[in-house]
């Protein structure tokens, strides 16, 4: 039975079924540690960790959905990110100037309005690429009964291929969207926020809310959750699982592409290896939230983002991915179903 507390004001939220006194002890210990860290914590790092978490979330939600429905780790997800980022770069750098659309330094932001035009095209490219690769490769493997390891290895090959293609087309040098320097916002507690981060936050919030509404309010969204939950039952219920799979890839690829553009904006650079390097935070967020659970991935993304940023107070920033990796390993050892339980395997 679950425990229910009642007080005069109303009900406290119910504790989950698996909660034991050990969990309470761990939560209290965490709280003590958190309170201990708080006075020495640089709030600026926490805030910027939240923004980083927003970008991670856009990638991790799609990754988790794909994981839940197709049951394999799509190692190419980071490269769907750079697909979007480079297609957006092509629009901003080559295509839109032909139409006389150029500019940077829109309002408080470093980028110009061409980025706003290029962003949806980048998303579209990510979605189309994801669906095309599924039709050409993954679907055929599925029909042959390929297992998760084969699919994951295939995605590893695709990741390398996509990155190689980007290197052939755009070269290996560091690129960047046209930008104009901007003053950072100064807030109390020595918090400094680059204006671009606010843009990233707004885009991330709009997309996360949209995905939530899609998953909970639409027929296709519910079918996606149902298929992730129980693929065989979805089949015998009459759900067209191939359409569900393509919808999932479209959402996953589109979100990843947008995350790629936002990452390139926030880091003020664009590199073919960027997507690959972002893979560890993505997987850490997915594992933390429970594989196949998109809401879990959202929470996991913010935990990973903040932890990675805050860790730079004590350790070299180049070890940031190692921090995410460490969290993932600990989580897999201690609680493989993630914080919130997954709907996929494990």
């Amino acid at each position: 039975m679950t425990v229910r507390w009642q007080n005069i004001g109303g009900k406290l939220p119910r504790l989950p079924r698996w909660w034991t006194p050990a969990h309470t002890a761990a939560a209290v210990a965490l709280l003590v540690v958190a309170l201990g860290i708080l006075p020495v914590l640089k709030m600026s790092l926490v805030v910027n960790g939240v923004f980083l978490g927003g970008i991670i979330a856009l990638g991790a939600i799609g990754l988790s959905l794909v994981f839940g429905i197709l049951n394999f780790a799509n190692v190419a997800h980071g490269d769907y990110m750079i697909t979007g980022a480079y297609v957006a770069f092509f629009f901003i750098d080559s295509f839109l100037p032909l139409l006389g659309i150029e500019g940077q330094g829109l309002g408080p932001f470093t980028f110009g309005y061409p980025l706003l035009i290029a962003l949806p095209f980048g998303a579209l490219a990510g979605a189309v690429a994801a669906i095309a690769l599924d039709s050409l490769i993954y679907r055929r493997l599925r029909l042959r009964g390929a297992n998760a390891a084969v699919l994951a290895m295939t995605s590893l090959g695709l990741a390398i291929a996509i990155r190689g293609l980007a290197q052939i087309i755009w070269g290996t040098q560091v690129l960047s969207y046209p930008r104009e320097s901007r003053q950072v916002f100064h807030l109390p507690l020595d918090v400094r926020i680059p204006p671009d981060s606010l843009f990233i936050a707004v885009v991330a919030i709009i997309l996360v809310v949209s995905v939530y509404l899609l998953l909970t309010r639409t027929r296709m969204g519910k079918a996606m959750r149902a298929t992730a939950d129980n693929p065989d039952l979805a089949l015998v219920t009459g759900i067209n699982t191939q359409r569900v799979i393509w919808a999932t890839w479209a959402i996953g690829g589109g979100l990843a592409a947008i995350a790629g553009v936002l990452l390139a904006v926030s880091q003020a650079q664009l590199l073919p290896i960027m997507g690959w390097k972002f893979l560890i935070p993505l997987f850490a967020a997915v594992v933390l939230g429970g594989i196949g659970n998109p809401y879990g991935a959202l929470v996991g993304a913010f935990i990973i983002g903040v932890t990675m940023e805050v860790s730079t107070q004590w350790i070299n920033p180049s070890y940031k991915p190692a921090v995410a990796f460490a969290i993932m390993i600990v989580m897999l050892l201690a609680r493989p179903r993630g914080l919130f339980g997954g709907s996929g395997p494990g």
Partner: protein, 242 residues
Amino acid sequence: MDSPGGILALLEADGVVAGYGETDILHGVSVTVDDGEIVTIIGPNGCGKSTLMKTIAGLVKVRSGRVRFRGEDISGAPPERVVGKGLCYVPQAANIFASLSIRENLEMGAFLRKDDYRGRINDMFGLFPDLAQAPGRKAHTLSGGQRQMLAIARALMLDPALLLLDEPSAGLSPAMLDMVFERIAGINATGVAMLLVEHNAREALGMSSRGYVLAGGENRLEDTGPELLANPEISRLYLGGR
């Protein structure tokens, strides 16, 4: 193989061979179900009862033989097409979408319906009042009996002509078991034919017009429900020898 009177049987599985990987589990099983009938399949563990259900539902490929529904060959049809024809299947385990709410489970059951299915959901709430109490409740919080109710309700959303029920009483308490059988009889009374696989063979055969005994992936015996119940050998082997 027409049923008596020359009218086509609702479901007709004829010499079905099927299995997984290299192994055949079914070595030519034949089963028929007529309109409005309850038919029970009994047999020892591993005799292929569940495999037969999955094969009819389209989840396992027919390697030889034929499955016909309303006279139409559905042997090679994918599951979602089989469902669309009015043949709905309730698996033994994992037969609900655990992370979805009760209402969402029923909505998924109506996935192939193009019309307004809200009336049908209310019908299901009428049939299974337990489910109506909190339609927003996540399915994984339900009790074993309630889950079984939800699984059957989900399958009924498409108004099927035939329901395949694989062990509807698995893991239920005796009180729940009676309730489930009562509901199954009630649903059958509305004209839905049923093909049942059941461990509680005595209860199941008691309400069946006919029954089949499978063994080793082959038909062993076919008879009316009462005759099978009265058969001393069947009684000793499968009915607990009372």
